[in-house]
Subunit: 412 residues, 2 copies
């Protein structure tokens, strides 16, 4: 008898019909002799509807009360799901964040889970019930409802799997696994059987929206195996697991891209100690996340500084940097929204040489100019003109043989 935590997203429970289909699937797995904890998101569209009501009152609604409002979405899902299971003759019990004792910190809207007291869940499991937990919500030390931020139901599921010591945490969604790259761009994209937590983190942070990034961090920390699979088929999906020796045989596991960044360059900055800190100070204070930063070696006491920010923060960042640019005596500040980031990801990079060179050469062969480069232990990212994004993704996918059945040996 296994203990399985399953999480279904908003589209999977988006209507009464879909809820019934999911209930049948849950019952089938339960009838195979498994204990089941089911984590649900709000029905598709509900969360946006609730936010819109709040914003009609106040564009910046009070964060404590917004969480009270938002958490009703999951409350509706779990109640309807429990009613469905019971109407099908299966004993079930819904638990909200406060009932499942999901304790979080104080940060409304983006709370982090501190601990979960599992007594009530295990009592219900032991009584043979299917336990349905509202995703996305918890309770802080003041006894207030908190929410975990977008995608928080993934985190709820992984955290429950961790504390319950579940055999697997299944994330059921509208895609059937994690792909070597975006299948909408590259028809040759292949579903991966396995991916390591670190690779998944790099993929997720690049906008592969299969799994919320914090849930992967959580899974890695507590070594929870995640199975990403389709709600609508029984096919095996992708296992997100701890790294194995085998994984390093493949140099590159996936190609990711991100069109949601913009670039800012400050030209001819006087190269003095503390100048970078002065430039970034107002940007950080405004809560803008700076991704890539490149500073060239200085010439004649001046240097160029380039960095990227989310597109949504571009205009604010330009304003702030232009002001501070004058203060530090820089020549000019340039902005560019028409950029994209393409990355190759793979734990094998640590043991394979020449990967970066191969990437640059492949892009050069298609006359794609590289505007910025950044690297980590298991990722190489290049900023390019955004019109080349799709071409670059396809070229890199081919170059590293990700369409091959046994990519392992053929990467090099």
């Amino acid at each position: 008898m296994a203990l399985i935590v399953q999480k279904y997203g908003g589209t999977s429970v988006g209507s009464i019909e879909k809820i019934k289909a999911v209930a049948e699937r849950v019952i089938e797995t339960h009838n195979e002799g498994n204990q089941m904890v089911v984590v649900l998101s709000a029905m598709a569209g509900q969360t946006d509807g609730l936010i819109n009501m709040a914003k009609e009152i106040d564009p910046n609604p009070d964060s404590r009360e917004l969480d009270v409002l938002m958490s009703t979405g999951e409350q509706v899902s779990v109640a309807l799901f429990a009613i469905t299971l019971k109407s099908m003759g299966h004993d079930a019990c819904s638990l909200l964040g406060f009932q499942a004792a999901i304790h979080t910190d104080e940060l409304y809207g983006k709370a982090r889970i501190h601990d979960i007291a599992v007594d009530r869940i295990t009592e219900n499991l032991d009584a043979g019930r299917i336990v349905i937990v509202a995703g996305f919500q918890g309770l802080n030390a003041r006894g207030d409802i908190t929410t975990l931020g977008r995608g928080g139901s993934d985190t709820t599921a992984v955290a429950l799997a961790a504390v319950l010591n579940a055999d697997v945490c299944e994330i059921l969604t509208d895609v059937d696994g994690v792909y070597t790259t975006d299948p909408n761009i590259c028809r040759k994209a292949k579903k991966m059987d396995f991916i390591s937590y670190d690779e998944m983190l790099e993929m997720a942070s690049m906008g592969a929206k299969v799994l919320e990034i914090r849930s992967v961090e959580f899974a890695k920390k507590f070594n929870v195996p995640i199975h990403v699979r389709s709600t609508f088929t029984k096919e095996r999906g992708t296992m997100v697991v701890a790294e194995t020796k085998d994984m390093e045989k493949v140099a590159v596991s996936g190609v990711a891209y991100n069109k949601n960044e913009a670039r800012i360059t400050i030209r001819q900055v006087p190269d003095q100690p503390g100048v970078a800190s002065r430039i970034f100070d107002p940007v950080f204070k405004a809560g803008i996340l700076v991704d890539m930063i490149v500073q060239n070696t200085s010439q004649d006491g001046f240097t160029d500084l380039t960095f990227t920010v989310p597109k949504g923060d571009f205009y604010q960042a330009m304003k702030l940097v232009s002001d501070v640019g004058k203060d530090v005596g820089a020549e000019t500040v340039l902005g560019d929204e028409n950029i994209a980031k393409v990355s190759i990801i793979g734990v094998g990079m640590r043991v394979h040489a020449g990967i970066a060179k191969k990437m640059f050469a492949a892009l050069a062969e298609k006359s794609i100019n590289i505007l910025m480069i950044s690297t980590s232990e298991i990722k190489i990212s290049c900023i390019i003109e955004d019109k080349y994004t799709e071409l670059a993704v396809r070229v890199l996918h081919d170059t590293f043989g990700l369409d091959q059945e046994h990519a392992k040996e053929e990467n090099f």
Copy 2:
């Protein structure tokens, strides 16, 4: 500085615009130097929408889970209301049933409040906040959400006023008070300045939908003054209070009616000990509420038994009584759905003689036949043909001078 509990119904908070208007009213009362606890119902239409979803899954949805579902309606109201108050610059805090520590018994869908631990409410009041409590919901000893049944928000408000020792419990609604009778039927109906708890109970049980009956019982038990008034004006409404000596000066305070009953007559029942009990046993077991029961003096060892049941239960009751009628050897069972009950109500009846005679005479004068009569200490009810309901109400209203400014002296 007074402590005021205000309750607003679903139509009063039925849209963002209405929520804003209510918020302004609450702030005004708060700014007059009062501490405020505001109890809200779900936005009009929400509760029905939620029930319909559940019934789409199961016509008889699981009661525990239905309460989880239903309680989201009030959760949405209080969150939106708190967001509104805060956007207007007033500190506020929403509390759900579990946060306001409203402890109930186990009966999902119609739970009764056991006790309320007010610490969290008073802490927030002391901090100068307007406290917004979700009506209709509580928590049972298992830690499950319960709801108090239709109109339960009234009960929440009165219970809070009782435990907080509030100066008044204001019920704000879409009518401006309690009337001597239904103004839709009788244009001469007058708003009452005062009504006693007992009179209000009789009015409420007759279908005067201003106040939920359990909330009046609660108010009577804990001597909480209730002020029924309009959400949309500042006019004084009707105070529902403990009986005073003055009140007995008026023989009749109001005229009520109920078209929602049907009559069942069992003819020629052998008059033996235990026969009434045998007849009603299946009806009670089916959970059907029998209102009026009349048994005539028997003749030749046989008697007729007549009683009324809610119209919705009429066919089931007829079936049950027909079956048991055969068993006990009754001649026949007759049913009649075209009846109505008209009642006159007043604590003054206890000290004024001849009220019943005056009522019967007034009906007779208009050729309205009385089918059944029942009396209590402060009420006389007659069953009549339902087509005469409006006429009977108007005649009785006139007969007892309820349209007079100083009805007190003129009743007799």
